[in-house]
Symmetry: C2
């Protein structure tokens, strides 16, 4: 008998029919002799609806009260799922973050799990109950409700799997696994059987949006294999783990990220310490800077270009405008019409020629590269947003047959 | 500086505008230098909507999971109300049953409060926060969420007022106080300045539906004066307390209750123990019997007639039909088309002639009395439902000028 943690996202429980579908997946797992702990997100658009209700009342509501409001979404879906399981004749109990003892820091709306107590869940499992846990929520040291950020239920599930020493953590979603590229956009995109935590992290960061990053980090930290699979089709998904079998495939996936703005500061005086000044000021404003490019100095000035998430470009521009005089710089330019296209694969660091193969594919498609960034397991390029779909397709074609 | 507990029902917070109206009542109270703890119900139809959602999934859902589901309603309204108060510029914090330490028994959906810990609320008040408490909910000894039954937020409020030794408990609702009769039906109905706990209990039981009974019982037990007043008009309401000033008014109110069925068992063998047999069987089925009438024995048989709530008449008839042979009885007759009309007043026990005055009024209006029941502070009659409105009016006219 194994202990399996299963997670079901909002679209998997969006209506009565889907709730019963999930109830059947859980009870089938149970019928095979397993203990099951199921983590559930809020139904369909509930979280969006609650956010809209809050915005009508007070667009600047405190994050503490937002978490009090939003966490009700998972409470409702957990109770309804438990009721569906009851109606199938299985003993079940739903539990909230505070009942499970999911302790987090006090960073409301984006809290991190610090610890989980296994006591209550183990007691319920000993009573032969299926356990439904409201995802996305925990409590901080003040006994106040905190939420884990968008996709936080993934992290709830992996953290529970670690705390309970579960044999498996299955993340059910509306896609049937991790693909080499978004199958809605790229012809020939292939489902991966396996992928490493590091590759998955790069893909998630790059906009693949399959798993919340923290859940993958936690899986890596505690060595919990995470299976991503469909709640609508009964077939194997993709397993995220530490080491995967060697495949011919050189790269694991091609990702596109449109949530990016390119900022340039033009005509900075070419003296030491300018980059430090700029990026420490942005860090103080909590702006996440990604790719950075610095031009070679010329006429005593240089330009610095970098990318930030679209949502932070306004903040960044504000900071930079204030700094212009102290930088002796001329201007700040912002371009929102860009995309980042990346290839990810743990194998590429030992295979020379991956980058040039990517650039060649883009060149042949007549796509101009604005910026380049590389790490051990990924290569990213910044291009015009209009070229992004084509870029993903030609790069995918070049690497994945 | 006083500590005031205020309670706002579902209709008082049913939309954004009403939420801000309540936020203003609370902050006005605060501005006068008072500490405020506000108990809030779920918005408008939220509880009904959640019950309907549950019924679609599983009409026989466990009461534990129902409470898990329903308690989310008060959580959402508490958070939204706190956000509205934040936007008015006041420090505020919303708290749930478990955070406040509202401990109840394990009778899900109809739990009774056993204790409330004042620690967290007092700490928040010391920090100068307005405290919003989600009504209707508590937790039992298993740390599971329980709810207090319809109107349970009234009881939450009075229990909190007792635990915090509040100076005042105000129940805001959509009527502006307790009337001598339902003002929508009875011409000349008057708002009462004051009423005793006992009178209020009789009126609530009799269908006046202003306060949950348990909240009045708790107010009586701990000596908490309860003020019933309108959230829509700024004027004094009705104060429920132990002793009220003597008024000319002999009776405090006339109430009508349509939620009543009359059952008769005909031709019971006239031997001892028959009534015991019948009513102990009904008690085992948890049927609430109200007025009982036993005919004088004749031809060796007698009839027993009694009233029950309409919702329990089916259960009662089932029990009685099973018993017919052992009672040697002939038949069970049920009449759902009846109403109970009652007058209530602590003064009546020392004033002879109250009953006859009531009967005279009914006689002059040509209304037939089917059954009569009396206690120290009330007289009830059962009549045809078609006569009920007229009966309330003529009895009211006879006593209240």
């Amino acid at each position: 008998m194994a202990l399996i943690v299963q997670k079901f996202g909002g679209s998997s429980v969006r209506d009565d029919e889907r709730i019963f579908n999930v109830a059947r997946i859980i009870t089938e797992t149970r019928k095979k002799g397993n203990d099951v702990v199921a983590v559930v997100s809020a139904q369909g658009d509930t979280t969006d609806d609650l956010e809209a209700a809050a915005a009508r009342i007070n667009p600047n509501a405190s994050k503490r009260e937002m978490d009090m409001l939003l966490s009700a979404g998972e409470q409702m879906s957990a109770a309804l799922l438990a009721m569906a399981i009851e109606s199938l004749g299985y003993p079940v109990v739903s539990l909230l973050g505070w009942q499970v003892g999911v302790k987090t820091d006090s960073n409301y709306r984006n809290a991190r799990i610090k610890s989980i107590s296994s006591e209550r869940i183990n007691a319920e499992l000993a009573r032969k109950n299926i356990v439904i846990v409201a995802g996305f929520q925990g409590i901080n040291k003040y006994d106040d409700i905190s939420t884990l950020g968008r996709g936080g239920s993934d992290t709830s599930a992996v953290a529970l799997a670690a705390a309970l020493r579960a044999d498996k953590c299955q993340i059910y979603t509306d896609v049937d696994g991790v693909y080499t590229a978004d199958p809605r956009i790229v012809k020939g995109a292939k489902k991966l059987e396996e992928i490493t935590y590091d590759e998955m992290l790069e893909l998630a960061t790059l906009g693949a949006q399959v798993l919340q990053n923290r859940s993958v980090e936690m899986g890596k930290k505690y060595g919990i294999p995470i299976e991503v699979l469909s709640s609508l089709e009964d077939k194997p998904g993709t397993i995220v783990k530490e080491v995967v079998k060697v495949e011919k495939m050189l790269i694991r996936g091609v990702a596109r990220d449109n949530d990016v703005s390119r900022l340039s500061i033009i005509g900075i005086k070419d003296t030491p310490g300018m980059a430090f000044k700029i990026f420490s000021a942005l860090a103080r404003k909590r702006v996440n800077v990604d790719i950075i490019l610095q031009s070679v100095g010329r006429d005593g000035t240089k330009d610095i270009t970098f990318t930030v998430p679209k949502s932070q470009s306004k903040d960044a521009i504000e900071v930079l405008h204030e700094m212009l005089p102290s930088l002796n710089a001329m201007n700040v330019i912002c371009d929102d019409h860009v995309s980042k296209v990346s290839i990810v694969g743990a194998g590429m660091e030992t295979h020379p020629g991956v980058a040039s193969k990517m650039f060649e594919a883009l060149y042949e498609a007549d796509i101009n590269i604005q910026m380049i960034s590389t790490s051990e397991i990924k290569i990213s390029v910044l291009i015009d947003m209009d070229d992004a779909d084509k870029a993903v397709q030609v790069v995918h074609d070049a690497f994945i047959k």
